[in-house]
Symmetry: C2
Subunit: 460 residues, 2 copies
């Protein structure tokens, strides 16, 4: 990076907010993919005006900018794969600006951590439903940029369903507003719609207006064991098709159950083919009870071996502990975990899991699966025993590609919540036609004609 550029940023932001030293480069070189790419520097804008000045300057000089939330992404969206400057909102732009109790809306800066908002609004009896597994450390700006999902999507939807309005800065420095603090707004193109999930490649989000809802008054947790994954998957889609509306319907397969039990001894039945965990909620007890009654009926009909309603907070905590610790527990199956977040229409879950079993047998990898079956989202983990065995690793990726093909063939998607970034970019051609890719490139150009914003991602 030219000294002239460095001086500009130091003068603009202050020495303390523009860093080009190795320590900062290293600290901002990685994300949850565990890939490393050194950026040329790290900038901490203090406000929207700073973002605008930075972008205008970089756009005129074709300097690459990579907006970064908490760097907790699984697909490399926040990595400086071709150098450039990291734009971080951690230091300054991390404030909750307003909780509007009259319209049930929160206005936040992009660097606010998801859980911080959840906790703050809970003080007022309000609820921000999107709860990605990373909610303790991922930022809301990142959540919107990746359209983060979570456990509650079956009933409450995902991040995009809670974005009412955005402020954003275009690469040329122009500030735009998209959307309103209203349920209805059909004036002009749905700019917020295209910014959501754009992985920081179209504009830099500077302010988010998010929808809140009232916190439901009653909540219960139930769980059921099944002899086989197939029975469980049938239970999922048949119960949901019958109109019962649980908050979440989460799933552990036998390999996941065994791994969690071996590590944590929570008394799970290691012979079970699968466990389903369901939260239900509502504003009257009777509606929660009715949901549980119907779930029980459908699950038993689909062959559940047992259906239990958690009787106290400990039982609730234990079963959710099991689900939340799948990801780390399965490390026992290998030193390299190729984890993907494919999603299919729910009725295709039985076929999907059957197909994954076949891939497992064909390649000889254990592939533990768990995830958000209530919305068709399954986390598949191809476990490579030895991450230094190049042949094995190569085969692992072949297995992953086969799983992608399987999901897309069933009408599903490469990614339910992680995005494309660099990790899934090579597989975009499995899911999108050349016409679709061209259109996305044209849209990218419409926002970012010099291609300075998070370029070379998403296969664009």
């Amino acid at each position: 990076m030219k000294e002239e550029f460095k001086s500009y940023f130091k003068k603009l932001l202050g020495e303390e907010n523009a860093h080009f030293d190795t320590l900062h480069q290293r600290a901002y070189s990685y994300d949850a993919t565990r890939n490393h790419y050194l950026p040329d520097g790290v900038l901490f804008p203090r406000n929207e005006e700073d973002i605008s000045a930075i972008l205008k300057y970089c756009n005129d000089r074709q300097i690459i900018i990579i907006p970064r939330g908490s760097g907790s992404g699984f697909t490399g969206g926040a990595l400086a794969i071709n150098g450039g400057l990291i734009l971080s909102f951690e230091k300054h732009m991390n404030q909750i600006l307003e909780i509007d109790l009259e319209n049930l809306v929160a206005v936040v800066q992009p660097g606010v951590i998801n859980i911080a908002l959840q906790k703050e609004v809970a003080k007022y009896g309000l609820f921000y439903p999107p709860d990605p597994a990373s909610m303790e450390y991922s930022s809301l700006g990142g959540n919107v940029s990746e359209n983060a999902g979570g456990m509650r999507a079956a009933k409450y939807g995902i991040t995009k369903d809670y974005v009412m309005a955005l402020r954003a800065v275009l690469p040329n420095g122009d500030v735009i507003r998209a959307g309103k603090r209203t349920i209805k707004d059909v004036a002009g193109y749905n700019l917020a719609g295209i910014l959501i999930a754009s992985e920081g490649s179209l504009a830099v989000l500077s302010e988010l207006t998010l929808k809140l809802i009232a916190m439901p008054k009653f909540k219960k947790t139930a769980f059921a064991t099944f002899a086989s994954v197939k029975d469980a998957m049938n239970a999922v889609y048949k119960s949901l098709a019958s109109g019962v509306n649980p908050v979440s319907m989460e799933f552990l397969d036998n390999l996941s159950i065994r791994a969690v039990e071996e590590k944590f001894h929570k008394g799970l039945n290691v012979e079970a083919g699968a466990i389903l965990i369901c939260d239900v909620d509502g504003n009257v007890k009777e509606s929660v009870e009715e949901d549980l009654r119907r779930l029980r009926e459908y699950f038993l009909e689909a062959g559940a071996l047992e259906f239990k309603i958690a009787q106290n907070e400990t039982e609730v905590a234990d079963i959710w502990f099991a689900r939340r610790n799948c990801s780390q527990s399965i490390a026992m199956y290998g030193t390299l975990k190729l984890n993907e977040d494919i999603t299919v229409p729910r009725s295709k879950l039985p076929e999907l899991l059957e197909g994954i079993e076949q891939v497992s047998q064909k390649y000889g990898f254990k592939i533990p699966c768990f995830g958000h079956t209530g919305d068709g989202n399954v986390h598949t983990n191809v476990m490579v025993k030895d991450k230094d065995d190049k042949e094995q690793v190569k085969k692992g990726y072949e297995a992953v590609e086969e799983i992608f093909k399987l999901a897309v063939g069933l009408g599903g998607t490469l990614s339910g919540e992680h995005g494309i970034g660099i990790s899934k970019a090579p597989f975009m051609n499995l899911a999108f036609s050349e016409a679709e890719m061209n259109l996305m490139r044209n849209i990218k150009k419409a926002f970012d004609s010099n291609n300075i914003l998070n370029p070379f991602k998403m296969g664009l």
Copy 2:
């Protein structure tokens, strides 16, 4: 239109599907704005391949194409304001292709009428919530293109909340798919997001995949009268802020009440400042009762003179009849009705209605208001006594402009559900900056570089 072009379309589609005669031109020259513009011809594509061939041909020759649903729009989106060919889906592409009971999804062609889908899915106990006032005759393709709202938005959201996937044809003839039959899908840009509400200016929708939900089992209707509009507006936002979640919270002001009562004698209290009508629903009786109990409490607290729960179907039908017939009843106040669908954050409703009263006094027009206050959407009607009095009409439009400014100033939008089209195009600069307009023009170009698709609309 050149004979060569006409011959091509007749050969492609068959004589019966390509019309260039005066009768067809006239029949497709208008919409609900009552403006008239003769198109050069009317084409009835039989399928997606026809659409693709038509677009490719037109794109190469820069022939304008205007996709048209039922022509029931209020802002001129379906009008051939600069000639060109109307593309109509009424004749062939009007089929419900699939009701997927396993994933609660409907797949339809763009020409299907909204109510036809509602009726069909009701047979299976399912529910398609978006219910624009035009639902008896407006098409789902039109609904998606305008992002239609309706009475149930307070609880159930609007059309965009029910679009899972789209197939569309780009101006160059390329077919694209956007979205999936899954709740989660974050691979690539949110193309469906930008196509919704794009008023037929980016691509031609060829197939819609729409989300269905289970039909709630219980439903009740309540209505309340208030001494003043202000009391009613306070009741709206305070009750909703308290977390009660009615399907709809509809509103009639005193002028609307008087008009309906004069025409239909339904026993409304013509002295009331406002009436609110609420539907509540749920899967257990207790939740419906709880909602009614809370609504009653909040409404009385806000000064309701009376709160009634409809005791039978006749009472339900009567009160909804009153709401549904506001629009035609207010014709008694003038021969020209300048009706707009501004929307503000709900807490701004009291100020909005107060501001409209001031505009009414300043300009001397009666401005009856009614609408979907549950989502902040108010239909304002500037009533011009004599539509042939040019001076009065001019003043009427000035009053409308003032109302737009008022709404935008309160953080609201020019349009909650009608779109921009040609009617509101002159006011886009009140709501959008030059940067925002430029970005929209760039997006238009990214899809439609030759500007053949519904051009010169939305102020672009």
